[in-house]
């Protein structure tokens, strides 16, 4: 072997070594410099998990600080699936737990190992959070579990905050309820800065839904480090949850209670009336709204039938939900004050008066001879052809001017206005609709609540459209007749309004013509503190030009309704002994014809309406009441409004409403933040909503439509009746 060959051979060994190391350097560069980002992401993804710590929901209070919706701490039993994996005889533990639960609670279906396992597979709960197994457990059970913790590894009794309603059913539809987040809402907010979790509860209806963003709070986060088999190693970062803000409503709980009682009593009393040609009166529902005419603040918003929001805590049972949503229950979830749409009847004469005055068909002093019937100008069909329209009871009121026409509710006076506006020398074909729109009819008021309905102000075009779309329901809608306009003039057939719209229209008149946007929001404040986040300022939605002489003539008419001996509501006020001199109330009755019953084909009983405001000169409240299928406005709705104003007149204010059975206030423990778990991991707790327990929460929203008597009128030829 030569020396050169030897050198070559050793050099080769060296060269090969160097090239191998070069390959390592190249690969290092590739992984750690060129592709570093990818691997870094994967490393963090594998190592860190973020768990969301729910924030307590803000409270809902009335204008005087009464807590209408609070958070209450409930005991729940959770099972930590992570820990359970490490428990050798997990079935034994679960079986023990099932026995215990069956013993201490009265479950509809007994707990078994299998049913618990099923719950543990709840995909809506993060795998790093313990899964709730039973909610609202008795304290004995909680104590037992804590004392025998060694027998129940992975099982913990914790406290969870859920909604509580100290005043029971008070303002239920206004407050709304919380429930599991619907899929679509989750999807919409999926990419928000603070997205929802799949097991979150959200406000589903009412104020809970309307002010969801204020009430919700900011969930905290906990970043935990997990090893490769998913065990929690440590908490890396923790951001505490920020509770939601408290929402103060314009609602006066005391006024609300009076309104609800008036409504309930009205319904009960209406049923005591004598039967008439339409059958016997069994009013299914009603609504009563009171607002402050000076700023649009809603003081009371009552709807009947109602429900108890605590049925949704922690979750409503399927049976109960099915029952509440069946037609026989008359849709208690529907807030008829904002979503019920009714023909206004004679209460609409407010609008027709202004329309008539504005177009010169009448003047404040114009006098008309009310003979109890009115014949449409130039009508050739004769009495049987719908040319003659009668006032209520065909009563002849004699000579009526504007004031008296309102006080006695002369229909013929207003038929004439409707007829002349359509077909007279000073015709102004859509004057009524125009004024109605100025007063806020036919459009949503803009109150914060979801599911508000706009009502309907018929015009020749809109009626034509309806006729084309639903020829069966609107057989005469292809053309607008003088008679149609005459019926519109007395708030019949081609117009529907919501109770809130009606109250707001009279509030607008009462304050001289400023239409405020009704609001439920007084202010938003920090959770359990006086620190105001924002205050709601009155919002002016529009102005109606009402010259003083028109206003005074009409106001006298409305005052006469209650005060004058021939006023339509005088009976209701005098019978109740209402001291009009103490607290004068002006108003207007209405009795609106209803639809026919789709089942029987017979007309339903009339709707009973009254809308009033007081004190008449310097109004503080404008209140409207509507009772479905309850008869005359003077007989049912007017007394309910009398009941509402009575405490103001007699005691100068509404009586203090007490929390239900006194226990609510006592047991509702203040929950300032996520409550500490009794044992085990403290990673779940504290939110304003429930976890799904043994019951099933509703996923579809309740029927938003009103009950009966809410469609946009039926046929132009029928006779209107005035209260």
């Amino acid at each position: 072997m030569t020396r050169d060959s030897n050198r070559l051979r050793t050099a080769t060994v060296g060269l090969v070594s160097i090239s191998l190391f070069a390959a390592l350097f190249a690969r290092l560069w590739f992984l750690q410099v060129m592709n570093a980002g990818t691997y870094d992401k994967q490393a963090n993804f594998a190592a860190y998990k973020t768990v969301v710590v729910p924030a307590p929901r803000g409270r809902i209070l009335d204008r005087n600080g009464k807590v209408l919706v609070d958070n209450k701490s409930y005991s729940i039993i959770t099972v930590d699936t992570q820990e359970l994996q490490n428990v050798k005889q997990s079935d034994t533990v679960l079986s023990r737990l099932a026995t215990l639960l069956n013993q201490y609670t009265q479950p509809a279906q007994p707990y078994t190992v299998d049913t618990i396992r099923q719950k543990l597979h709840n995909k809506q709960v993060s795998p790093y959070k313990p899964v709730p197994i039973a909610t609202n457990i008795p304290q004995d059970l909680e104590v037992y579990l804590v004392q025998h913790a060694d027998q129940f590894p992975a099982v913990a009794a914790q406290h969870e905050t859920l909604r509580a309603y100290p005043y029971g059913t008070l303002a239920a539809q206004v407050l709304g309820y919380v429930g599991p987040i619907p899929e679509d809402q989750y999807t919409v907010h999926e990419h928000d800065k603070v997205p929802y979790q799949k097991d979150d509860d959200v406000g589903r209806t009412g104020v809970e839904a309307a002010f969801e963003n204020d009430l919700r709070g900011t969930p905290g986060t906990k970043t935990i480090e997990v090893d490769r088999v998913g065990r929690i190693v440590r908490t890396v970062k923790e951001t505490p949850p920020i509770p939601g803000d408290d929402v103060y409503l314009t609602i006066d709980a005391n006024a609300q209670a009076v309104a609800e009682k008036g409504l309930a009593d009205g319904l009960a009393n209406a049923a005591k009336q004598a039967c008439n040609n339409l059958g016997c009166i069994k009013p299914p529902a009603g609504a009563l709204v009171a607002i402050d005419p000076n700023n649009g603040q809603v003081m009371a918003l009552a709807s009947n039938p109602t429900y108890d929001p605590s049925w949704f805590v922690p979750a409503i049972t399927q049976d109960r939900y099915a029952q509440l949503t069946s037609p026989d229950s008359h849709f208690p979830f529907t807030d008829r004050a904002i979503a019920g749409q009714y023909p206004p009847g004679s209460t609409f004469k407010l609008i027709t008066s202004i329309a008539g005055l504005r177009s010169g068909v009448i003047t404040p002093t114009f006098t008309y001879g009310d003979s109890g019937k009115y014949v449409i100008n130039g009508c050739k069909g004769g009495d049987t052809g719908g040319c003659t329209k009668y006032g209520d009871g065909k009563t002849a009121h004699g000579n009526v001017d504007l004031t008296r026409a309102l006080t006695v509710s002369s229909d013929t006076y207003y038929y004439r206005i409707g007829d002349d506006l359509w077909d007279g020398p000073a015709a102004n074909k859509e004057a009524i609709q125009q004024v109605a729109t100025e007063f806020g009819f036919g459009q949503k008021t803009g109150i914060e609540l979801p599911d508000e309905q706009p009502g309907f102000v018929g015009t020749p075009e809109s009626l034509k459209k309806l006729h084309d779309k639903y020829p069966a329901a609107y057989p005469y809608g292809d053309q607008w007749y003088s008679g149609t306009n005459a019926n519109l003039a007395i708030g019949q057939d081609v117009i529907t309004v919501t109770p809130l719209q009606l109250a707001n229209a009279y509030a607008t008149f009462a304050n001289g013509g400023t239409r405020y946007q009704p609001t439920l929001l007084l202010k938003v404040a920090k959770f359990r503190s006086d620190q105001v986040v924002r205050t709601q300022q009155p919002k002016v939605a529009g102005h109606v030009d009402i010259p003083p002489d028109w206003h005074s003539a009409m106001l006298s008419g409305f005052e006469g309704v209650t005060a004058s001996g021939e006023g339509t509501a005088n009976g209701a006020f005098s019978k109740a002994g209402y001291p009009l001199s103490q607290y004068p109330v002006a108003g207007k009755t209405g009795t609106s014809q209803n639809n026919t019953d789709p089942k029987t084909g017979h007309p339903l009983q009339d709707n009973s309406l009254f809308v009033g405001f007081g004190p008449a000169g310097t109004p503080q409240y404008a209140a409207a009441a509507i009772f479905e299928q309850a008869g005359y406005g003077a007989d049912v709705a007017a007394p309910a409004i009398v009941d509402f104003f009575m405490p103001l007149a007699k005691q100068g204010g509404f009586p203090e409403v007490q929390p239900v059975d006194g226990t609510a206030a006592a047991t509702v423990s203040p929950v300032a933040g996520p409550s500490a778990a009794i044992s085990g991991d403290s990673s779940t707790n504290g939110n304003g909503g429930g976890t799904t327990g043994a019951t099933i929460a509703p996923l579809e929203s309740p029927d938003p439509t009103g009950a009966s008597g809410t469609s946009g009128g039926s046929g132009a030829g029928t006779n209107g009746t005035g209260g």
Partner: protein, 392 residues
């Protein structure tokens, strides 16, 4: 052959000391100790201890010190063994070379005897000595190098077919025994080390070419014959399917976690104790075969490259020693050790980065493990020995 007065230099610390007259004195070999090699290895081993600690201490305090303490003990034993291997003249070692070789083969036999040998991770590779487990295949790597180097020296650069046969037989016997244990990695080490010695020892080109062909044929046979377990095949071929992430215990999962660890270190690393892959134990076998991932994650490209540079430095010093050696035995010894070190390093670091098949080969001076640590120190001791006795 290597000459004492090589143009490659005269060695560390030799300059300007000739006036002491000790340069060629037999009593003075300690003066020619290769401190560069010693330092390189020392630093690597220090980093190794740190890495063993970081991969075994657990995710959160209180940290566990069991592994690192034990490894420190191995290092201490290794240092003693290295000192002995350095102190005893390597020419004496040559005299006992066949005995050493025979002892190694004997131990490989012993480990296969049921009742004496114990198995772990699919290998029957350990002999229990009290609380320690001796792994003869590690010792055997060095004993085969010593044996073959001695035999090659005996042939004096003239290797005909018969002599080649003798050398190959010396390699094949322990190789088969190691393979019987199921230790594929060590078998591969022989496949690299022995031919390297043969190249330098003067095996004829045509013989080497034939051997290469034979090796390829044998490799294909082994892979195709079903001699290997499924897991062994998977490990060998995983690096060909880089996109698979795998799960649980699979080789693909292991490789993916290893790459995530190394890649997430980026340029400067996440810092000691900060990498999640290491701290959370996401890389299986991280303190042994996959220890390089801990360096990659915690010290990044900067640290990993520096570590590799230290290995390069050590390899260079060993290569240089092979050139400086005053006799053929020293040269072959160094070349064998060099091949072993390079292959271990390349294969181990390469497999964690997905460019080499996964085999159970430790990273020298880094991976946790007593036998391999001690043997590597012994090997370095022999190199130091050759280096400092190049004049004597």
């Amino acid at each position: 052959m290597a000459t004492a007065e090589s143009s490659w230099g005269t060695g560390f610390g030799a300059h300007g000391r000739s006036n002491f007259g000790l340069r060629r004195a037999t009593a003075a070999p300690w003066r020619h100790l290769d401190l560069v090699l010693l330092s390189a290895v020392g630093i690597i081993q220090a980093v190794g201890l740190l890495m063993v600690f970081s991969t075994t201490r657990g995710p959160t305090p209180p940290y566990k010190y069991g592994f690192v303490t034990k490894q420190a003990l191995f290092v201490a034993i290794g240092l003693v063994v290295m000192a002995v291997a350095t102190f005893v003249d390597y020419r004496r070692v040559r005299d006992y070379a066949l005995f050493i070789y025979g002892l190694g083969v004997f131990l490989l036999f012993v480990v296969l005897v049921p009742g004496i040998g114990t198995s772990a991770k699919g290998h029957q590779s350990w002999i229990s000595l009290g609380s320690f487990q001796l792994q003869p295949s590690e010792f055997c790597k060095l004993s085969v190098i010593v044996g073959i180097a001695a035999m090659a020296t005996h042939f004096h650069g003239d290797i005909d077919l018969r002599r080649l046969g003798v050398l190959l037989a010396m390699a094949v016997v322990p190789m088969m025994l190691v393979l019987l244990q199921g230790d594929l990695g060590t078998t591969l080490v022989f496949l690299v080390v022995v031919p390297t010695i043969l190249v330098v020892a003067g095996a004829k080109g045509k013989h080497l070419a034939a051997l290469l062909g034979l090796a390829i044929l044998a490799g294909a046979l082994v892979l195709g014959s079903g001699m290997l377990h499924k897991y062994q095949q998977d490990r060998l071929t995983t690096f060909l399917h880089q996109d698979e992430t795998g799960n649980g215990q699979t080789a693909a999962y292991n490789l993916n976690q290893a790459k995530i660890a190394i890649g997430s270190g980026k340029f400067f690393g996440q810092g000691f104790g900060k990498g999640t892959q290491t701290r959370l134990g996401n890389v299986p076998e991280q303190h042994t075969d996959f220890i390089f991932t801990a360096v990659g994650e915690q010290f990044g490209f900067f640290g990993s490259a520096l570590l590799m540079a230290l290995f390069c430095l050590a390899v260079w010093r060993i290569w240089r020693t092979s050139q400086l050696s005053r006799d053929e035995f020293g040269t072959y010894l160094c070349v064998g050790i060099l091949a072993m070190l390079v292959f271990h390093t390349f294969e181990n670091a390469g497999m964690t980065m997905g460019i080499m098949p996964i085999t159970g080969i430790p990273l020298p001076f880094m991976s946790y493990g007593g036998s391999s640590t001690v043997l590597n120190f012994a090997a370095i001791g022999l190199v130091l020995n050759v280096h400092m006795r190049r004049f004597a």
